[in-house]
């Protein structure tokens, strides 16, 4: 790929005010892209964009699976916590306490004094 230098003078007021670089040059490509090349390029761009979209969508879905996994863990832990609370309530229930060895060894007080 090569470029032909061409010299031109800009007449815009902005450039007229420039004190430097007044002999600015630009290069015009000598390569011309035809309609087929344009079509291919556009198709490629659409493909790349599509791939980017798919990548992002898949990534979001993978987060959903992670989220679901964490939700499942939370549900399991919640169930375990609940089971433990029920078990705790059972072992501290009146009936359990009454039937415990400690309770069976207790005796009725014979004399009670009240602090004034």
């Amino acid at each position: 790929m090569s470029y032909q230098p061409s010299t031109m003078y800009y007449t815009s007021r902005r450039q007229q005010n420039w004190s430097r670089n007044q002999n600015t040059t630009r290069f015009i490509s000598s390569v011309k892209l035809g309609p087929v090349a344009h079509t291919v390029l556009i198709a490629l761009m659409i493909t790349v964009l599509g791939l980017i979209y798919l990548t992002q969508a898949t990534r979001a879905t993978s987060y959903d699976y992670q989220s679901q996994k964490i939700d499942d863990q939370i549900a399991d832990l919640s169930t375990q916590k609940n089971d433990l609370e029920v078990e705790n309530a059972r072992v501290t229930s009146l009936q359990t306490v009454k039937n415990s060895d400690t309770a069976k060894n207790m005796v009725t007080p014979t004399d009670v004094q009240y602090a004034q």
């Binding site: 979001a60 959903d64 009146l94 009670v112």
Partner: protein, 585 residues
Amino acid sequence: MNFEFAKGSRSRILAVGLLAITVLFVGRLFYVQIIRHDYYQNLADQEQIKRLTIPAQRGLIYAMDGSTPVPLVMNDSVYTMFADPTTVTDIPGVIKEIDQVVGASNAQPNLDSLMREKNSRYEVLAKNLTTDQAEAIKKKDFAGIGFQQQSQRTYPEGALAAQVLGFVDSSGNGEYGVEGELNTQLKGKDGLLQSVTDVSDVPLTIGKHNISKPAINGTNEVLTIDRNIQSYAEQALAQGLKASANATDGSVLVMDPENGHVLAMANLPSFDPSHYGDASSLADFNNPIISDPYEPGSDVKTLTMATGVDKGVVTPDTTYNNTGSINVDGVNVSNAEGDKEFGDITLQTALNFSLNTGFITVAEKLGDGQNITKQARDTMYDYFYNKFKLGQVTGIQLAGETPGIVISPESVQGNAVRYSNMSFGQGLDVTMIQVASAFNSLINGGNYFKPTILAGTIDSNGNFQPAKQGGSVTSVKATTSATLRTMIHAARQSVASIAAKDKPGYYIGGKTGTSQQVVNGTYSDKLTTATYLGFGGTKETSKYVIMVRVTGPNFSGSGAQDAIPIFTNISNWLLGYLNVPPENS
């Protein structure tokens, strides 16, 4: 590249063919995507979008243990184990595992045949598995075996306060008791998750119609019931019924007279809420203390006396001539204890011996002194209905409360004979909760507190939030209350054998009641309902009110014989439990 589109050339035929196919595709796509857009969108949504209900957790129910809430009703996770017989491969292995882990009690008896039902895709193998049991079987990873998690009510204290609690039926609705009355609050509100899901029903964030509405769990309610008092009351009631001939039904109500809190509500017969289907009768689900109006008998004499004292027509020392009966509008109304204390006696004596004539006299004095006039009846009705709230629902937070009835003097039936009967507790139908709440106001300075069973709630952080205290209305003057408290104390002390069984150093009073049962619309001469209504504490303050009722289809006992022992048992225990120091210590 140059294409030859000469007429009849292969290129032209190909081009025309491709064009036709393209037009066909575009046309079909237009039809499917534009014209039938809604139809196919719905089909796709039905397949891809799932609406999952997020079940709200039913609120727990707590009782008090002193000042600490303790759970009475909780939610337990249980699992139903099922098989898809078309995919089960290791039938002997599954059966062996169920035998080892679950046992025979929760497993179906015909496991082998169930798993060979190749025409079925769902067969229940075992129910009510615990989390540990389900996890143990899941680890084996049997093909075609699955588990469904369910939540069910569990009762750490067993059948304690069953009729207060009620139960939750198979459709998840509360029935009877607190479960029935506060069903809406306890139930909470299910949430909704609407989302695009994958084949495993995992919700995905893609899709523009996703909805995530979290469940609102039910409120955790804390009852005023103290589990220790409740347990003791149930035990004392069972012992008392056992000791009384033909006593099959009984109730005990314990209240705090200073605020209307119900501390215990015990009834027999009862049921086990975790196996409510095994109850011997539907009547066992009812709480007779709030739902069984009856003629309360002589307990009501305290209310009649309070009416007379409050109106200033009688005092405890007012005397009348007791002849054993009084003629009211041509009807002879006599004492139950016919031959006792004839002659001029005080109303205190009439209360001590529970003489009906004394309280008919009070009713007469509310009129012209000789008759139970319309004015007397109006006054009695005003006190009984408006001030003591008899014959109307109290509004306690329990399902199934019934009002009973107090006949108005405006009614034809509200005549002098009826009001003479009402003065000693017959001719009106009221519930125990009504009578005990009215009695509270007689001994607490004259303040009627609406009875309540709700102490507060437990918030999401597990902190107890006390309920806002309801106010009180004045039923009688404070001086009237003081007079009645002294009279009721004296009534109990007048029977030495009863007073001797009280813990020394405390101020305890009470009144017996023995009413005739109504059988086929008429009063039975033999069958009775025995009650005792009393208080205990120090001379300054009453710490509790206990009401006991004993009855049965063949019961013919009395309040003194059958209800007082239960009262005394609970009263003496309560003084220790509540740490009430004796006054002479």
